[in-house]
Amino acid sequence: MTDEPTGRNLDGDAPVAETVVETAEATITEDAELERSIGLSGGLAIGIGTMIGAGIFVFPGLAGGEIGAAAAASFAVGGVIALLVALPTSELATAMPRSGGGYYFISRGLGTLPGTVIGLSLWLGLVFATAFYLVGLGFYALDALAQVGITVGAAPGAIVSAIAVVAGVAFTVLNVTGTENAAKLQNGIVALLLSMLVAFLGFGLLEAFGFVAVDTPPGEAVDVWEAVPILSVAALVFTSYLGFAQVATVAGEMKDPGRNLPLAMVGSVLIVTVLYVLTIFVATNVFKRDALLAAGETAMVEVGRALLGPAGALVIIAGGLLATMSSANASILSTSRAIYGVSKDALLPQRASRINLRYGTPHVALGMAGGPVIVLAATRQVQLLAEVASFLHLIMYGLMCVALVAIRRDRPEWYDPDFVVPGGPVIPVLGALASFGLIAFMNPLSIAVGVAVIAVTAGWYFYYARDIELKGAL
């Protein structure tokens, strides 16, 4: 096994390789240094900021509408799977703190074909996820309009699509032209959201245990406490757990990666899991299944209204807008890292990682993220978008766990993680089984779309990058 990637792609470009020294504060290459500037709070903000938009503000209505209070179990299952994957990911990330995250680990651990498939489907998975967040944003914006008295008559669906598309265009343009660092803003938004949620959930829990009484509307349908529906809802809502892998895509920029990467990934999964389960508990305590089903994507607004009156509804609407925006923004950010990681290894034309001189932003990569996002957002297919995003991520998660087992067995010289998952192969094997297993509970259409995406990316490998060898290279 060599330490250097080899081979050339169809354009005759070879992967860019060099020896670098990683310190806690910077990556030192031969002639230059790359500052690590994202701290633990920044990492947690990326993880949590990506996740809570979906899990708290979009899914409770859909998941609670299907199986009632049992949806709490679905979220718990999702959290356990995410944790089983977050631990192996942490080990890989501390050994290879590079841009590209999951793509990098899999291409080095398992070889170029899986690497290409995952690198490209990480990009496309993020595209599906971003489109999903934007559609969520559209639904919240519609509710916000209704709240201020503007009622949309004929085609509310078209309005949601329009808002999602406009937001998608705006995010892409802002990311290409914006040179202000939005990271501090993101941290602030996440802190604000967390405090709003803690207050809201605290009140909801007081109500649930009878310390405070509000009128909860009566409902008929009962909760569905059965394994298959719970797992199938878990597969749907798994999109609410995609954020921790986004932390890995900025691994190259994290300060003290040996400590901060595991803390940020595992910490953000634990925090959001608790919040999700509590949210479902509160939501299903206020509304029965059929009421949640009727309220749909923005059911949480009705929950807020029932608990705290119009002010509660307003808080949830504001929170929903902020959270879906922060999810979409964080995802676009990691998409550009994903594309860069792949094109650096010559699996995509190097044009894809061009930076424009005027703004210093990777406009081609951002366009490759924003363009398809806008098209997908227009479809307004919340469930399909969410499940395809989950499907593509779950494949990556499963393969990351496999990569960990493989790389531990091969033990390249450079493999020296700061964080080691305890228990030998148990956790990565369970993580892989759970990730692949959850796919089986998805909607057949989502699986078909996901498989098609994978097939296209594999085709791209055979067409463009067949000669490139990345396995075992650092």
Binding site: D31, I38, N175, A183, S353, G360
Partner: protein, 264 residues
């Protein structure tokens, strides 16, 4: 040897004015070429595209510094956070001061601020090394609210003079004595009722560069921006910020790693 870190926005047309270059001729220089990237851009990606151009610009710059007198080397950093990069590299090369580049011609007279809680001893040694026997005059500025020990001067009037006689502050007197001993022409400005920043900016005319001490980040610097940056903006000329290492001397020695082990 005294070392100064000169950060330069190497790809954004940042340069070093001839005046600053010759002023720094008496000391060693590390040119820190940096390029700040928006967070959408992985620093590594920018490196692949811009490294060659940046390195050749830095080679030229350090060549010019060497021609001006002292030893010079360079570092190149791609970063999201300029301040963090300057602090890190300044620590790693064990720099005594870092520059905020501004425009100036030949330097005849420099302004040295001793206001506030700064490491006066270090600032003075730095000024001595910087002037290095050349015919460059110094004006010391001390503004009100100074926390110098034994600061019992209650007169709130602004006094200005070319003599140390009306500077009743013991810290200032000691400083004047020390610089005169090194054969440096010294003036003083005492502004009891002004803030350190205002006093410094008021005194800027007729001076070509500013030397000031580094201060701990405060609420003020959080809201208004770093003090040295504000001085540089207001004074147009270059600013040399002497690093405060009173707390971290031991740690720095260990980091420098050169003779630390044999010293202990």
């Amino acid at each position: 040897m005294t070392r100064v870190l000169v950060p330069v926005a190497v790809l954004d047309g940042g340069g070093v004015s001839p005046g600053l270059m010759s002023l720094l001729g008496t000391v060693d220089v590390t040119v820190l070429g940096y390029h700040v990237l928006p967070e959408q851009t992985p620093p590594d990606q920018a490196r692949l595209q811009f490294e060659e151009r940046a390195t050749s610009a830095l080679d030229d710059l350090s060549q010019e510094f060497r021609a001006a007198g002292g030893a010079a080397d360079h570092r190149l950093v791609f970063t999201h956070d300029r301040q963090q990069t300057i602090q890190r590299v300044a620590g790693e090369v064990d720099a005594d001061a870092f520059a905020v580049t501004g425009t100036t011609g030949d330097v005849d007279r420099i302004l040295v601020s001793l206001s506030g809680d700064v490491d006066v001893d270090r600032i003075l040694s730095f000024v001595e090394a910087l002037i290095g026997g050349r015919d460059i005059g110094v004006t010391l500025v001390l503004a009100g609210g100074s926390q110098a020990p034994g600061d019992d001067v209650t007169d709130a009037a602004t006094s200005e003079g070319t003599d140390a006689a009306d500077a009743a502050d013991p810290r200032l007197e000691a400083a004047v004595g020390r610089l005169r001993e090194a054969a440096i022409a010294v003036n003083t400005v005492v502004a009891r009722d002004r803030s350190a920043f205002d006093a410094l900016i008021d005194a800027v005319p007729d001076h070509d560069a500013v030397v000031m001490g580094e201060r701990a980040p405060s609420f003020r610097s959080f809201v208004l921006g770093d003090e040295s940056e504000r001085v540089a903006t207001a004074s147009v000329g270059p600013v040399l910020v002497v690093r405060d290492r009173r707390d971290s001397d031991g740690a720095d020695g260990a980091d420098a790693g050169e003779t630390a082990a044999s010293d202990e």
